[in-house]
């Protein structure tokens, strides 16, 4: 039995009471793994999921004598991210060493940036649905800096999969040296009860922006986008900041919202009891929805930062920066406004699309020929449900916007009805091929030949003569029972409207 507590649940205060008595302040730190072909300081490839320790060299293994060389594409991505976040770009900056011992750090220091980040002092506007409608919050960006990722340790044996109680640990250095950009917000104030939603909206908007820049695949479940949430409470907005905690391991948009809300309720309970908050790192537990204490910041290491002497300073020329600025893709806020106007949908409907992270896929589905309402229906309905079940992002489902648009086109031309369309989607998701192939192989086309339908109608009428009489007697609403029987008989492959029309015609009644 492990002696490590996974956290007996702490006392929490009801959320309404928290926001009645406290003002939350947030600080969000997001780590983004860049999608560069090679690592930040060596030429090793960055492919995700390769066999352990196959994408390594003397430099990213930290072997004696090895030296780093800066990846220019990494610097370029950092500048583009900075520009997209409305930051100033440093005219001159250096890397720094962050010194601490850990087995997944090959050199026992991380090459990072300290007091000279490449980008600083920017902002990102995010929209949140409030009681008074959609409200825009401006999130200040303190800095965006470059650093390298660590290796990945897995602990073998023991009860918890954590280092305590493990029999031994394995380290995979494939991830060591992969470029990271750390984006740190300024303290986020004035969000009140919407703090959890603002946190989620910020990460959602940031992810959208990064995806638009094409600098990262921003997959939270694969760790290419990771968020640490700093939360503190104070009695009044005029009070100084309260003591904060930093919650790590928050690996989905939903978790960010939940973790912030949980931390607020936990801290409020401590404060209401007359206690004080310990400045510490806390771990979020997705399954139980709580945070537990990690390492206390009081015993935290002194990182002994100093300028990295193995690298020369980075001094991006203004011409290069302006070139990069000019080539930035459309700003997401501008894009949202443009798309919303084109689709003619309400703020609320637009927010629903954004919250689901579905803007890209819906837009691409529309571009592939589908009606916007139909595209939204699929991605926010059936596909969102499947993605949620599988714990993946919409974009990661094994179905493309073009395939969704094709299914919708088949519905439009009458080949499929809604129920059959769902089955086609299911087939595509199951890897059965293109929508037309699924229709063919599963034999899913709507029965459009009236002959078999009339036969089925006659059979149903014969089986339920009393219902037939009711309809003949003018009780048209009773037709549903017959239509249902026909649909059942044709295994859903009939167009219900057509069945109904044929039935009424057969019985000589009109609506």
């Amino acid at each position: 039995m492990s002696t490590v507590s996974t956290g007996a649940a702490d006392k929490v205060l009801p959320y309404d009471d928290v926001v009645a008595s406290f003002d939350p302040v947030l600080g969000l730190e997001v780590h983004v793994e860049l999608g560069t072909a090679t690592k930040m300081f060596c030429g090793c490839p960055t492919t995700f999921g390769a066999a352990p320790n196959t994408q390594v060299c003397p430099t990213c293994l930290g072997l004696p004598g090895s030296l780093p060389v800066v990846n220019k594409v990494g610097v370029e991505s950092a500048i583009r991210i900075g520009l997209a976040l409305n930051c100033s770009i440093a005219e001159w900056c250096r890397f720094a060493r962050k010194n601490y011992f850990y087995p997944d750090m090959p050199k026992n220091f991380q090459t990072s940036q300290y007091d000279e980040p490449i980008a600083y002092d920017g902002y990102l506007d995010v929209d949140v649905e409030t009681d008074e409608g959609v409200k825009t919050f401006r999130i200040g960006i303190e800095r965006a800096h470059m650093e390298e990722d660590t290796g990945k340790t897995t602990h073998q044996g023991g009860a918890t999969g954590r280092i305590h109680g493990a029999d031994y640990s394995l380290v995979d250095y494939n991830r060591a040296g992969i470029p990271l950009i750390e984006i740190v917000t300024k303290p986020i104030e004035g969000t009140g009860k919407y703090a959890p939603e603002v946190a989620r909206a910020y990460v959602t908007a940031l992810r959208e922006l990064l995806r638009g820049l094409g600098v990262s695949d921003v997959k939270m479940e694969q760790g290419s986008l990771r968020c640490d949430a700093n939360v503190s409470l104070r009695r009044s907005p005029s009070d100084p900041f309260g003591t904060r905690t930093e919650t790590k391991n928050v690996n989905s948009l939903r978790s960010i919202e939940r973790a912030v809300r949980y931390e607020m309720t936990r801290q409020a309970a401590v404060l209401e009891d007359g206690g004080s908050i310990t400045q510490e790192t806390r771990h979020w537990h997705e399954d139980t929805g709580i945070t537990t204490s990690g390492r206390s910041k009081e015993e935290a290491e002194d990182y002994r930062y100093f300028p990295e002497p193995d690298l020369v300073p980075i001094a991006p020329s203004r011409e290069w920066v302006e070139e990069l600025r000019a080539s930035l893709p459309e700003n997401p806020a501008v894009r949202r406004a443009r798309v919303q106007a084109a689709w003619g949908i309400s703020d609320l409907d637009m927010q629903t699309v954004l919250n689901a992270g579905a803007l890209d896929v819906v837009e691409e589905t529309v571009a592939a020929g589908a009606d916007q309402a139909a595209a939204r229906k699929w991605w926010l309905g059936e596909l969102a449900r499947v993605a949620n079940e599988r714990g993946v992002e919409l974009a990661d489902l094994p179905i493309t916007p073009a395939q969704v648009a094709r299914v919708e086109a088949l519905v439009g031309e009458g080949t499929l009805n809604d129920k059959l369309a769902r089955q086609v989607i299911e087939g595509v998701l199951a890897g059965e091929g293109e929508p037309d192939a699924v229709v063919a192989s599963r034999g899913l086309a709507v029965v459009s030949d009236d002959g078999p339908l009339l036969a089925a109608i006659d059979e149903a009428l014969a089986a339920q003569p009393d219902v037939a009489d009711k309809i003949r007697g003018g009780k048209v609403q009773a037709a549903g029972a017959i239509v249902g029987a026909v649909m059942k008989a044709t295994r859903g492959q009939a167009d219900a409207g057509r069945v109904r029309a044929l039935l009424l015609e057969r019985l000589g009644v009109s609506e």
Binding site: L63, P64, L67, F101, P103, K107, Y305, F306, P309
Partner: protein
């Protein structure tokens, strides 16, 4: 085959330049040259202990390759077939690389340092790896975990450090060439106390890729030889831009060989640095230095005195910057991925305990001292006072040099305050040991090149004295020009090279 320089027919007494010509001309095979040196090592190294590892098989294979290339009529590079001793701080693929430390015992690097690769490409025959103070921390080679190296002039004395093994190997005729590394004087001070020539090139002139770092902003590999021309030939093989080292200079290598052949100081402005001499320098060192200054004047140089007012702070600044960088550079030695691992089976230790046990067992006293000094100097609350202030001093020293080079083309001083001291004499007094590098450290802090060459024996102890020449960054050729001129004049005066005065081993 008779040496024009030494008059000897012994293959180990040839200069590198003579050996290369003889091999190229087919007068002697590279294999014979390698064998002669391996025999010499076998005969004397049990007393000198210059080598930590001898790669006879690799050396003979490299020599055979040179001989085969010559037979095939291929053009040989200028040092093809010349044996060399490689300081054990540079990686050589598959060959043990210890840095003089227990913590790396048994480690065989999977890659060649850029310097090593360039030597191999040039047909240089690498005989083995030389002894050094642990991770290049020291001025006597007594801090090697594998025992001290002995000075061939007097086996009871130190050969200097940290590159005592490389200097002693050359002085003992175990190799005509060696590679050293110089962080605060580790090439120049051993050269001075062994009567050999050593050059620390401009920072960034020679790639540091594969040089196990002591202090990244100070470390620089360079040539060790018995003549200025040999050092120049080796310099031109190892120098040049390397994309694997971000601090490597992307500029043409100065014509150091041409400068060594020119050897003309007429009209050259030579500055004697007031702060590097006088009190604290041994009488015989001062005497030989003054004589050399007079000789340079006779040769037509214009000698002036220059002042570098911040040099008295150089040692203090150096002993903050070096330990700071070294505390971080040496963090990777933790027993996790390579080298020694200690205490794994003792109880049920945590990974932190294994790291701590490994480091405690693997590092010697001097390494531990400097790691602790550096860790302290970089700590929150002390950084500005220590590391920050030291960097400011470094800037002031760079300005002192800039001002001095307005008045002079090269600067000179004694290389070290004393001749070789007795083994054990300063081992318990770190500060006394650190003072050996008082004259060499400023060049490292400023990143400029420096050379040490022998200028005679101190009358009081009969041991070699070195003179240091310093030049502006990327003007390494000036060292070779001035050094070769002085060397030639001294040889004329002495009649034979200084190493001929050393007792037979």
């Amino acid at each position: 085959m008779t040496s024009a320089v030494t008059g000897s027919t012994d293959l180990t007494r040839l200069t590198a330049a003579e050996t290369a010509s003889a091999v190229a001309a087919g007068e002697v095979s590279a294999a014979e040259v390698a064998t002669a040196h391996l025999d010499r090592i076998a005969a004397v190294d049990d007393r000198v202990h210059a080598f930590l590892h001898i790669d006879a098989e690799g050396a003979l294979a490299a020599a055979a390759a040179v001989d085969a290339a010559r037979s095939a009529g291929e053009q040989l590079s200028p040092l093809a077939g010349v044996p060399l001793a490689l300081k054990d701080v540079l990686t050589q693929k598959g060959i043990p690389t210890t840095c003089g430390s227990r913590i790396l015992e048994g480690w065989r690097p999977p890659y060649d340092a850029t310097v090593t690769a360039r030597l191999k490409d040039a047909g240089v025959v690498i005989l083995g790896k030389t002894n050094m103070d642990e991770f290049a921390m020291g001025s006597s080679t007594e801090h090697s975990a594998f025992g001290a190296t002995h000075n061939p002039w007097d086996l009871d004395r130190i050969p200097g450090g940290s590159g005592g093994g490389s200097a002693a190997a050359i002085a003992a005729f175990e190799a005509p060439l060696a590679i050293g590394t110089d962080t605060g004087g580790s090439i120049r001070q051993p050269a001075a106390v062994t009567g050999t020539v050593g050059v620390k090139p401009t920072y960034g002139a020679v790639s540091r890729y594969g040089l196990v770092a002591l202090a990244s902003s100070l470390d620089q590999a360079g040539p060790c030889a018995r003549t200025v021309l040999d050092a120049a030939l080796l310099h031109s093989v190892i120098a040049g831009h390397d994309p694997l080292d971000s601090t490597s200079l992307d500029q043409p290598v100065p014509d150091v060989v041409g400068a060594a052949r020119r050897a003309d100081v007429k009209g050259l402005r030579i500055g004697v640095v007031k702060e590097l001499g006088g009190e604290g320098y041994q009488a015989g060192v001062r005497q030989r230095f003054d004589e050399a200054v007079a000789l340079l004047t006779d040769l037509g140089a214009e000698v002036v005195e220059v002042s570098a007012p911040h040099f008295p702070y150089a040692l203090a600044a150096y002993y903050l910057i070096l330990p700071s960088e070294c505390s971080s550079n040496l963090a990777k030695f933790d027993g996790i991925r390579f080298g020694l691992r200690v205490g794994e089976g003792d109880g049920d230790p945590s990974v932190e305990q294994v790291m701590a046990r490994t480091r405690a067992a693997g590092f010697g006293a001097e390494a531990t001292r400097r790691i602790m000094l550096g860790t302290y100097a970089l700590s929150a609350g002390y950084y500005d006072a220590y590391y920050g202030s030291a960097q400011k001093v470094r800037t002031l020293i760079q300005r002192d040099f800039a001002a001095a080079f307005e008045q002079a083309d090269v600067l000179i001083s004694p290389t070290a305050p004393t001749t070789a001291f007795k083994l054990g004499e300063k081992l318990d007094d770190p500060l006394a040991m650190y003072l050996n590098d008082v004259a060499t450290i400023p060049a490292n802090l400023a990143g400029i090149p420096g050379m040490s060459l022998p200028i005679g024996l101190a009358p009081e102890d009969g041991l070699p004295v070195g003179l240091q020449i310093m030049a502006p960054a990327m003007a390494d050729d000036r060292l070779y020009n001035a050094g070769a001129a002085l060397e030639g004049a001294l040889l004329d005066r002495w009649g034979r090279p200084i190493l001929e005065e050393a007792p037979a081993l």
